[in-house]
């Protein structure tokens, strides 16, 4: 008897639509673009700040435009999704063993949310 294994090719371009869990994964990966875009915006803000008060005022005005607000909202949603989806898998990446038990995952995830809230409060405090 001859062997003739049949190979099913996987689509290289749209495999991530074939399963909801793949789509969720891809959403987590793709939303990093918003983090990158906002980082570039912050660098741009620094440049404007260095260029003097007028340049910075112009930059702030541009941020207040509908397009600027829309970008900020999109970046916020993208960054929140990206961050929370990573927070939720931290117990897998960094399990903590205490004696014969592992620290429950929700404590590790909760610590990340807590840290996030704390840093946000500090930034808010520095900002006002």
């Amino acid at each position: 008897m001859s062997r003739k294994p049949y190979i099913r090719e996987m689509s290289k371009t749209n495999w991530f639509f074939s399963q909801p869990r793949y789509t969720r994964y891809m959403a987590r990966e793709v939303t990093c673009i918003f983090i990158l875009a906002y980082t570039i915006l912050l660098i741009f803000a620094l440049k404007n700040l260095a260029d003097g008060p007028e340049a910075y005022a112009g930059f702030l005005e541009a941020l207040n435009s509908p397009l600027g607000i829309l970008f900020n909202l999109a970046a916020l949603v993208g960054a929140v999704y990206h961050s929370t989806s990573w927070f939720n898998v931290t117990p897998q990446a960094m399990p903590i063993q205490r004696g014969e038990e592992f620290v429950p995952g929700n404590i590790i995830v909760g610590a990340h949310y807590g840290g996030w809230a704390l840093i946000s409060l500090i930034v808010l405090f520095l900002g006002v």
Binding site: M1, S2, R3, K4, P5, Y6, I7, R8, M10, K12, W15, F16, S18, Q19, R21, Y22, Y25, E29, V89, P91, Q92, A93, M94, P95, Q97, G99, E100, E101, F102
Partner: protein, 247 residues
């Protein structure tokens, strides 16, 4: 005991006559307590003895009957009929070549499994007279979940990285390497790192996490792989920033 008529769609492929696989549907009178494997056995015994598939224990221990049930990697012996509608589609495990019908070619996985040396490599040989290698419950707990792997390959069928990059050593093999690396009696980590910390090793993993979601034994391969990444990264920093730390 209620009975239900199920339309069981089976992907058929005969390497001697077929150029590509095709679905064949069987009408199977199923008891609600049955699993998909029972339905396949009914087909084999009563309707079509030519259907080929692997199975052995019928109790989720041997890891032989992995297949795609309605597109999801499952053990056919653990996929209960009552969890499905009246139409059930079974296909060979994704990401593996089809040998015949539901039987896949698993040589690739077996080779990778062997390459990670999934067995104890004692730190130092000692004579039997020196007694046993002792291990505390705490040390056992560190890796115990990974000992539950039954090599069923559902995690490979779920892993899109393995589908896209067949060279990837993959979830189960790396998890088993991690299992022995974590074992307090073992001294073989350096040998295994050559395979699992390589490009085709853990760095092909992008933490999709599908492997852990489909594991029928509730092993968490994704966790093992992330831990291997962390440990390998620490190795790299030690080697490059603190070369004097190297033995």
């Amino acid at each position: 005991m209620s009975e239900r008529q199920i339309q069981l769609e089976v992907l058929r492929y005969n390497p001697e006559t077929d150029s590509e696989p095709r679905f064949q549907t069987y009408s199977v009178p199923c008891l609600n307590e049955w699993v998909v494997l029972d339905a396949l056995n009914y087909v084999k015994d009563n309707l079509d003895p030519t259907v080929s598939y692997r199975w052995s224990c019928h109790m989720a221990v041997c890891g032989s009957c992995g297949m795609m049930v309605n597109g999801e990697p499952k053990l056919a012996c653990k996929a209960f009929i009552h969890e499905y509608g009246d139409q059930i589609r079974v296909e060979p495990l994704a990401n593996f070549p089809i040998e015949r019908d539901l039987v896949t070619v698993v040589d690739d996985f077996i080779g990778k499994l062997a390459s990670v040396k999934p067995y104890l490599i004692p730190k130092e040989d000692k004579p039997v007279s020196a007694g046993e290698y002792k291990q505390s419950p705490v040390e056992l707990k560190t890796f115990k979940q990974y000992t539950l792997c039954i090599n069923c390959m559902l995690c490979y069928a779920a892993c899109p990285q393995y589908g896209l990059v067949p060279e990837f050593i993959g979830p189960a093999a790396i998890s088993l390497a991690h299992r022995y690396n974590q074992d307090s009696r073992d001294g073989g980590r350096e040998q295994r790192q050559e395979v699992i910390a390589s490009h085709d090793g853990v760095w092909e993993c992008s933490f999709v996490g599908a492997c852990s979601e489909v594991c029928p034994k509730h092993v968490d391969p994704a966790s093992a792989l992330q831990q291997v990444k962390v440990a390998s990264t620490i190795d790299w920093y030690k080697e490059h920033l603190m070369p004097w730390m190297k033995k």
